[in-house]
């Protein structure tokens, strides 16, 4: 394995990229579901009813986590590139990860 790939910041880069990829793949499905309301409220409601299944709620929590980690990782990048901060990059990455877990946990606790 290349040396830079053992660095924690490479993991932050990878997490940002993989979470972004997951969100891109989910987006068309999300848009499709919202567009179901064009066929009437009942159509959208029948999907939302299915989304009450526990396994779907866990999957949704995973998506919330992906969104939160991508947002926080992105804010870390924007801050590093645009603000005169140069040190403690690893701390920002860790804070982003921890915050994303809290957001996803908050979603999970309210969903059940």
């Amino acid at each position: 394995m290349k040396a830079h790939r053992k660095q924690p910041l490479y993991l932050a880069f990878l997490l940002h990229r993989v979470s972004g990829l997951g969100l891109v793949l989910f987006l068309p499905f999300h848009f499709y579901v919202l567009a179901l309301s064009l066929q009437g409220n009942e159509k959208l409601d029948s999907f939302l009813h299915w989304s009450q299944l526990p396994q779907v709620k866990f999957a949704e929590t995973g998506l919330v986590f992906l969104l939160a980690i991508h947002l926080l990782g992105g804010l870390r990048l924007l801050a590093l590139e645009n603000l005169p901060w140069s040190n403690a990059q690893k701390n920002y990455a860790a804070i982003a990860l921890a915050s994303a877990f809290f957001v996803a946990l908050g979603f999970l606790l309210r969903a059940f």
Partner: protein
């Protein structure tokens, strides 16, 4: 030159998306309690200029951001180049814009 423009578009769309995603996360966590239902969602969004304009901006920014991000992955990890990368990226942008704005119309238009 193209890569520099895409880099800037990626950063500008990210700056637009950040507050919108925060709002989206907050709304999701608030709305999920007690289960979701179409009446509740559409009651909030139908006929609303605020939600219509916010979600339209959200869709445009996310389509640009997601397309450039996907292009980067295809270019760097799968070594896609030339017309394939070019046309796939345009197709992705057009598809996301169409599907996204259609979804906004579905939940906002009365």
């Amino acid at each position: 030159m193209l890569e520099m423009r895409l880099y800037l578009a990626q950063r500008i769309s990210a700056a637009i998306l950040a507050p919108l995603v925060l709002m989206h996360l907050g709304l999701m966590i608030y709305a999920i309690q007690g289960g979701l239902d179409a009446g509740e969602i559409l009651g909030r969004t139908r006929g609303s200029f605020f939600w219509g304009s916010s979600y339209s901006l959200f869709v445009v920014a996310v389509a640009v951001h997601a397309t450039i991000g996907l292009r980067n992955i295809l270019r760097e990890w799968l070594q896609w180049r030339g017309p394939l990368l070019h046309w796939f990226s345009w197709l992705c942008l057009a598809g996301l814009l169409f599907a996204g704005l259609r979804a906004v119309a579905a939940v906002v238009l009365p």
